[in-house]
């Protein structure tokens, strides 16, 4: 199978026509159904029918995460609750949870999107897909699950955690595709080695990994350790959940399914749309969603768009893999640091394990970034000077990459907490 839905290879001009038609209808509908949007659209002088070109999008108002919270729980929904068949919500660790809803039509579109991502990752209806994203309010588990069923493959609804059982099932049921966070994929590999499970006992061929930023170096590590093809899947619950974009076999950017979402990259400070290719904040507009449809939603994810056609044949635009969220960004002594940048450096040093943690503290009004790294038997030496050389090498390489001096702390294996979902890479202990 080359693609799941023929819209993925729709001729560019036709795709743009479809986008425009759907955008116009979507904005008019929001004006009509959601008082929050009516007010915002009136502020910019918009009247129904005003969208006549895709260029008009840049004049429309943004939607922020706070808007979802301010209208908690269902204030931005554009259908009556009787038409809502499913609710998902973010964990709400930083405030009120963000609540999203779906009509039965939305669920169907979403499943179709996820089915496209599975096929783009090399899947087909013969596959056994082990879904190790959490099932529940989080969109990961159920999102993938419905996509697997839509494709006609076999869903193995494991949810996250219980790693040994994940591995036993993987062996017994012959799972061919694993869906989880990249950090959990590493954890599974490690536990597999501990259990003495050999590579030829499992049939895994690819991984659909996402829900957290990860580096290309981490991909190499996962692909080598598990002997699979690892594909980055992107999505966020506000926009739909997993299935907004996916890496095809080219692994050069993620195709954004433009028949459902319009992607823009803006300068986060000015809000201006940036020319294609420039890095900035990713913004999404839903154009094929009923229950909750967002206009120019600020994702806080940093990426750039790739307009060049992809050799895979899909005509949909690509976004570069997201290497950081403005939310995850640490500002240390004026330097912007994303955990994935440190990861990139660490993965290039032989023998350094992919488990790391960044601890930020403020000592005497000075921000200190400590990089905690586990010492594997491979790099361990009985001589302190060799360990100090290792610390220095890590410190020097991080410094030359980030332009920021860091403290490296060598840790015992397994002392850094293993992830069963989204990895916690940063502890910010600064009291400001």
């Amino acid at each position: 199978m080359e693609y799941f839905n023929s819209v993925e290879v729709m001729e560019r001009g036709k795709l743009d026509d479809l986008k425009l038609e759907r955008l116009g209808a979507s904005v008019d509908r929001l004006y009509d159904k959601v008082s929050f949007y009516k007010e915002k659209l009136e502020e910019v002088g918009f009247k129904p029918g005003d969208v006549t070109s895709l260029e008009d999008l840049k004049d429309l108002p943004f939607t922020y995460k706070e808007d979802l919270r301010d209208n908690y729980p269902f204030g931005l929904f554009s259908v009556p609750m009787r038409d809502v068949v499913r609710i998902h919500a973010s964990s709400g660790t930083t405030g009120k949870p963000t609540v999203v809803g779906y009509t039965s039509g939305d669920i169907e579109v979403w499943a179709d999107l996820v089915a496209r991502t599975i096929v783009a990752s090399g899947g087909n209806p013969d596959d056994v897909v082990q879904v190790a994203y959490g099932y529940g309010l989080f969109t990961g588990g159920l999102g993938l699950h419905y996509g697997v069923e839509m494709l006609g493959a076999t869903a193995l609804p494991m949810s996250g955690g219980n790693t040994k059982r994940q591995i036993r099932m993987m062996v017994d049921f012959g799972s061919t595709i694993l869906c989880c966070t990249p950090s959990y994929a590493l954890n599974i590999t490690e536990v597999m080695q501990e259990m003495g499970v050999k590579r030829d006992e499992i049939k895994l061929k690819s991984g659909i990994l996402g829900a957290e930023p990860w580096s290309d170096e981490m991909r190499v590590q996962i692909e080598e350790n598990l002997k699979i093809s690892a594909h980055d899947i992107y999505g966020l619950s506000e926009v739909v959940g997993p299935g907004v974009s996916i890496e095809c076999g080219e692994k050069h950017g993620l195709h954004v399914f433009e028949d459902c979402f319009i992607a823009e990259v803006i300068d986060p400070r000015t809000g201006e749309v940036l020319p294609a290719g420039e890095p900035g904040e990713l913004v999404f507009t839903n154009i094929n969603k009923q229950a909750l449809s967002l206009l120019r939603y600020r994702t806080r994810d940093i990426t750039r768009l790739i307009e060049e056609p992809c050799p895979c044949g899909r005509t949909h635009i690509r976004m570069e893999r997201v290497t950081g969220r403005t939310d995850d960004m640490l500002i240390i002594r004026g330097v912007n640091v994303f955990p994935s940048q440190v990861e990139t450096v660490l993965m290039q040093i032989p023998g350094v394990s992919p488990y790391y943690k960044l601890v930020v503290d403020r000592v005497d009004n000075l921000d200190i970034l400590e990089v905690q790294v586990e010492v594997s038997s491979e790099v361990f030496s009985d001589e302190i000077k060799r360990l100090e050389q290792l610390e220095k090498r890590i410190g020097d390489e991080v410094q030359s990459y980030l332009g920021l001096g860091v403290k490296v702390r060598l840790m015992e294996p397994r002392s850094i907490q293993r992830s069963e979902g989204k990895a916690v890479r940063v502890a910010d202990n600064r009291k400001i």
């Binding site: 594997s376 038997s377 361990f380 009985d382 001589e383 360990l387 060598l410 840790m411 015992e412 294996p413």
Partner: protein, 143 residues
Amino acid sequence: MKVRQISVFLENKSGRLLEVCQCLARENVNIRALSIAETADYGVLRLIVDDPGRALGTLSKEKFTVSETEVIAVEVPDEPGGMAGVLAPLYSANVNIEYIYCFVEKSGESAIVVFRVEQLDQAIKALQNGGYKVMREEDVYRI
């Protein structure tokens, strides 16, 4: 002539050394000599034990970071000038010493000193030519 030394990486966390020793105790491994080198954040514990293979096995199984290094154990006369005497031939043979530590027990009238050097074979030869007794592996574990 070469003796197997086991090194363990230890974070500076209370109870870690105890856990290593308990782990060895459970496997009935007897520690013959030990030293700890430390930095602000971590330490390296070096051990000579009666059964290095068993010690290595159990420590790796318990997820300690361990490595094995070859060292030499030399009988040094327990008298003024004893240590200086043993160092002289090593110096002459251009052997770099990384670190040394001593056995707790004595073997007769001599102390036993463990040398970690860069040039093992050169060191053994230099010491033997200087009239020192470099201990055999099995004798060390049996002390």
